[in-house]
């Protein structure tokens, strides 16, 4: 009796688990990645979909077979013992060939998406913007009309006075026209070269709609590059535990038309 109950429950659980995956909603909320606004994201989404199909089918098959066998053989008393046709040999071969090929195939296909994000450097005409992650906010810096970023002096950081990067405009000419912003404002359809600097501890940069994520490592010069394809406001959140305010560490990516971006940049210079 217990066997039949187990079979029913495991099959119900397996099918119930699949429903939100197929319907993309659970308890009224959307449970799928949000719309992709990047140029590389479609490869990642395709990879995710294919993996979901293969993993989902494997999951359902295993749970259903488990349920079926327990239904059939659970509580069976003194029945003739039989071995699965072929014994272990064919199961091992199936596992190696089927799963092995599947795994290698997906792994190989996935290198394309990975490579687009991480193997190629930013193109030469990408717009360079620096982001600094520090407990517990992201601040962005644009080079200003001189096209040069001023030097960061950690000892000069004065957040209460809005000197987030520790610039020294008095002595460092390149720093004088640097534009600091709490919002990540970028033009649409333009490649951005995002240079990442950690002020204090480890952080991470994550924008779901851009399908990018990358840790900030103190002491390392890391960067990301991407192109946003849709105007709008998107959340940037920190995904690496960085202290008590980790949950509150977020900012907004504001993708504007090139025209609006130029206007915005100019208005920042004037203030």
């Amino acid at each position: 009796m217990g066997g039949k109950l187990f079979a029913v429950i495991v099959i119900v659980i397996a099918l119930a688990s699949a429903v939100p995956i197929i319907s993309h909603t659970f308890l009224g909320a959307s449970v799928r990645p949000p719309e992709d606004i990047s140029t590389h994201g479609s490869d990642i989404d395709k990879q995710l979909d294919e993996t979901m199909i293969e993993a989902g089918l494997s999951f359902l098959a295993a749970q259903l077979v488990l349920g079926f066998f327990v239904w059939r053989f659970g509580g069976r008393k003194n029945g003739p013992l039989k071995n699965f046709p072929g014994g272990a040999k064919y199961l091992v071969i199936a596992a190696v060939l089927f799963v092995g090929t599947e795994a290698i195939a997906l792994g190989a296909l996935g290198t394309k998406a990975w490579g687009k994000v991480f193997f190629q450097p930013a193109s030469a005409d990408a717009l360079p913007i620096q982001v600094q992650a520090g407990q517990f906010a992201f601040y962005f810096r644009y080079a200003g009309p001189d096209g040069k970023f001023g030097v960061i002096h950690p000892e000069k950081i004065d957040e209460g006075n809005s000197n987030f990067f520790g610039l020294d405009p008095e002595n460092d000419v390149a720093a004088r026209d640097d534009i600091q912003s709490g919002e990540f404002v970028i033009p649409v359809n333009k490649e951005i070269h995002l240079m990442m600097h950690a002020k204090d501890v480890g952080h991470s940069f994550y924008v779901r709609e851009l399908r990018i994520q990358q840790d900030f490592v103190p002491g390392l010069d890391l960067s990301l590059h991407f192109t946003a394809t849709k105007v709008g406001k998107y959340e940037i959140v920190c995904t690496q535990l960085c202290g008590l305010g980790h949950y509150n560490m977020r900012g907004y990516l504001n993708v504007m038309s090139q025209e609006d971006f130029d206007k915005w940049l100019k208005s920042q210079s004037n203030s």
Binding site: G134, Q135, F136, A137, F138, E159, G160, N161, S162, F164, P169, E170, S181, G182, E183, G243, L244, G245, N248, M249, R250, G251, Y252, S271
Partner: protein, 232 residues
């Protein structure tokens, strides 16, 4: 005998009002030159606060009034007065709209500080004390007020660990004779018995200045402070 008794009576009669009311040192704090423009504060990461400020507030490192007056200058008696005891009343420091109000507070060593969170978000107040014990405390919305004391005189820079733009100051002093200038730049230090005093004016960016003032009776001595604005 009669002369000395009369003399004492006259002395007492003259001194009594001085003992009861005392003199006052007052004046204005101004600046010369052109102060750096205060920058607007981007609170976009905390929408519940950002929406309270339209247009956005600015940094408060240099706050000025009309006629070149300088606000948030702590003017106090640094020598010549008794240290006095800490008042029993607490001084309140409020977090509202992700801003510290007031920007500068003065309190006596041993006087109670009450920190209030009037926002819907957690704050973590962090007085960056170098002489006193350094601490920080989280305050989720709905949690009780924070109560703390400082033992040593010190000008303590105060920040919020969660919201980097929040900034304020605690002027922990050994005296109760203190006045913080408002937008008219004015300050007033009343109830001073006769004596020689050193008056110190402290500004968070422009530094410290002192002046010597002598009070003989119930007069009001007017002194001014003038700070030089910095270019950066």
């Amino acid at each position: 005998m009669r002369t000395s008794k009369f003399g004492v009576a006259v002395l007492i009669a003259t001194l009594c009002p001085a003992l009861m009311f005392g003199g006052t040192i007052s004046g204005k704090v101004t600046y010369t030159g052109t102060p750096v423009k205060q920058k607007p504060i981007d609170m976009s990461k905390e929408p519940s606060c950002a929406k309270q400020h339209n247009p956005p507030i600015t940094t408060e490192t240099v706050v000025t009034g009309s006629n070149n007056t300088l606000e948030n200058v702590v003017v106090y008696i640094s020598a010549g007065a008794d240290d006095a005891n800490a008042p029993a009343q607490a001084v309140t420091f409020t977090q509202k709209g992700c801003q510290y109000t007031p920007h500068v507070i003065a309190l006596h060593t041993g006087q109670e500080l009450q920190v209030v969170n009037a926002d819907q978000t957690s704050h973590n107040i962090h007085p960056l004390a170098k002489v006193n014990r350094e601490w920080n405390k989280s305050q989720p919305p709905g949690s009780p007020n924070i109560q703390e004391k400082f033992d040593q005189p010190e000008f303590i820079s105060v920040k919020c660990n969660i919201h980097p733009w929040m900034h304020g100051w605690f002027a922990v002093l050994k005296t109760n004779h203190v006045s913080i200038s408002k937008d008219d730049g004015g300050f007033s230090l009343p109830n001073l018995p006769a004596g020689k005093y050193t008056v110190t004016a402290w500004h968070e960016d422009y530094g410290t200045q002192t002046q010597e003032v002598t009070i003989t009776g119930n007069e009001t001595k007017a002194i001014d402070f003038s700070f030089k604005a910095k270019a950066y």
